[in-house]
Point group: C3
Chain length 325, copies 3
């Protein structure tokens, strides 16, 4: 995140851009309330645009390099659709392990090559800190689409947007996160974003998959009330948001333990019958068995809306960093 | 193929769309003579458009999700070109086995994710019935680009279009299908389409690769004359269409049998010298040894025109299901 | 490179196209001074266009089939960006080994299929002569993006462009090529292009990786002075261009020999302190250890500008063969 050529351009153009033009999107910690309000409102404009016109030509002539070092159909397709719906174009770079990287090229060289072709770079990489490294070497804006167990800021933003869209407001909500809270990157990032608002947290997990200390510290430091529990049935009736994470088999050395956890937190019609009438169930998808298919038709199921909102958020970010929001 | 949001949209827009707008294209059995006439005439318009202008902006702002669970350069490129030539955009999703599917996601969830980004979905999948499953869960139109040994309706339509383009009319033609008629998906679908017209069939294959009973039943039920034979030399002089299938080595347990079949039905200059002056040779491609390269320059060789016609047919279908034909 | 349909079109349109319209770009030997001057000047126009407007709509409605039989993120992305920045569209075909080719399809059939969808074909293939074969069977223009140890003409053109851009002129320059000159395809092609100009050559390599006889013959036949040496330190102070090649481990049977070569020709700050103030360091990238990162900030380092210039050269070639330059 060194000095960007766009810093200069911005001053020249005297743009009102709320501080996004030419910048990188690496971490949720970049977002204060002002920036959150701005991006969420642009996302709503994008939603209206798509629903009314399907697409626009805001980013016509702009090119996105969509650089995925590990496969993620969902995220790469979402960024691609976002760019295309704004009239831009995309260079998709998948399976990078099979390409020049195998000849030993470093990430900085790859990024500097791609920025000679493209106007903005989206990067998904298995190593923590890789997006920041890419941003350091690039003079064009870089957007983090997930760096290992590090951050996935656009996921956290779309989660926040979905909560506000679904419940009207985020103030005073009781938000439960359920399942594997230890390794779940999405719940870490969302928690860090939500401390910008007056909410209550409920962390539901088996003892060995509890929310890590550094995330709890953020919650404690900001003075937000929170509860840790192993039982989802006791709390489901009180919460406004039930955020379910995927329980990944590969995290467990003891398979019996996996089965216990997997079965313990399944969201099914029975559990939903205990929930409030006005609440939402979220999941970053893909799901395995965490939410039964019967819940899909429940109006409180928000996980497919999350996908759609992901496109609006990414449209907003792409437009913002390219100075066209 | 449940109720589509487009059913409602269509009524609202009071569109004259011949029943395609917002619908799925899953099987050749969806096509009666009226629908065939409509799509074939739109394909001709597309041909004129491409030859005269190269491309159009009919589908500007629309996005196709090109979802290929198994590789098919030919078919995926054809759909891609079709969308791009109409001014639309494409999200290509190849090698899905390496992506979220490996994390265990179901086809319905993948389809529901993609339709939150795209306006229409093309799917190629190794399992019979998968396209219908996708269509069931999607509210956006789904086009079947081949579901295992099931159907490949756009291939059958382009074959029909090529016959009519090459010979002026399909009425009264004698159509021979040659080679592996047991496993050849394309000849099954084409036969089912051709029973809409007054044609005669000749099925040429070794005894163990004869046309399956269910396809023959369709021919019998519609009262079309047909002949089964093992010898292509005896019939080549009488037919208007010689449709050659690829003989796939992997179908045979006895390799000697494969070699026999492979050599028996090769279309070469000698065979073509016995054929009528006005007839066409077709092949779905890729070919292995079924047609010798010497035949390529014969004006009766229609297999490269088939490729081109595939683009026109797919342009017609995309425009039709998106309500822009 | 048989008769192209465009030969006829060109005459009909009476285009002033400097002989590129509808033609293939297969080898550097196609380029005489007139053609070089033309393409280099169009590349400069493309540079101005990109810097001023980002993109144009010169190739709107045109489709490029980007056919890569072996992975090359750098080259495929460069061609893709070039087509997109001119308003055209791209069908990317990567990992062809997994597609219809595995069903046994020949290159001629693949090319004839793709040209039924696209307006121009770019091909990267591991076998020498494959691009010429593709061009022979295609009636649409074919551009060689590297055929094994054969040619990579667009790389040589961008190298030449970078020399002229960096030093104002190519006349009278002393050009050193360093490293693996035996297997380095790029230095072979660049040498063949540079004999069109009054330059001096210095070939720096270990004895077992010297410039091959056929390339030296071209230099000798055109009467250009050249020197062969094993020592880069002795010559670095005199040269205007230091073209560094990648030393590929897989070329060596003796690993000790590899280490020797690898360490011997590293361009670092110490070496650069001996170089002229006005000179440039080039590298086709990806680099491994041949140039130290400390040199990146040296204004004489031209290897990232090479990347950018590659896009301008490819834009120029695409526009030229499609008759829009």
């Amino acid at each position: 995140m060194n000095l960007k050529t766009k810093d200069v351009d911005r001053m020249a153009a005297n743009k009102v851009d709320n501080g996004f033009y030419g910048q990188d999107i690496i971490s949720v910690s970049q977002f204060d309330r002002t920036k959150l309000d701005y991006i969420l409102s642009v996302a709503t404009e994008m939603k209206v645009l798509v629903e009314r016109f399907g697409s626009a030509d805001l980013l016509q002539g702009k090119i996105l390099a969509n650089l995925f070092y590990e496969p993620s159909t969902r995220t790469s397709s979402s960024f691609m659709a976002s760019m295309l719906r704004l009239g831009g174009q995309v260079i998709p770079i998948n399976n990078v392990q099979y390409s020049s990287v195998t000849k030993g090229e470093s990430l900085p060289d790859t990024v500097r090559t791609l920025e000679s072709y493209a106007d903005v770079i989206v990067i998904r990489h298995p190593e923590v800190g890789s997006a920041a490294t890419a941003a350091h070497y690039a003079s064009k804006p870089v957007i983090n689409a997930g760096d290992g167990v590090g951050e996935h800021p656009t996921q956290a933003l779309l989660d926040l947007y979905t909560i506000i869209e679904g419940l009207g407001d985020v103030h005073g909500l009781k938000v439960a996160m359920v399942g594997d809270l230890k390794y779940g990157r999405t719940v870490h990032s969302l928690t860090k974003l939500l401390v910008n608002y007056p909410v209550e947290f409920v962390f539901v997990s088996p003892d060995n998959l509890r929310m890590p200390g550094d995330v709890l510290s953020v919650v404690q430091a900001s003075g937000h009330p929170y509860l840790e529990t192993e039982d989802v049935h006791n709390i489901v009736g009180e919460v406004d948001v039930l955020y379910v994470t995927r329980v990944q088999k590969e995290r467990f050395t003891d398979l019996a333990e996996y089965d216990l956890v997997k079965d313990r937190y399944v969201v099914d019609s029975e559990l939903m019958s205990r929930a409030k009438e006005r609440m939402i169930v979220m999941h970053p998808l893909p799901r395995v068995n965490e939410i039964s298919y019967a819940v899909d038709s429940d109006p409180r199921a928000a996980y497919f809306r999350q996908m759609r909102n992901g496109m609006y958020i990414r449209m907003a970010l792409l437009a913002a960093v390219l100075g066209k929001a």
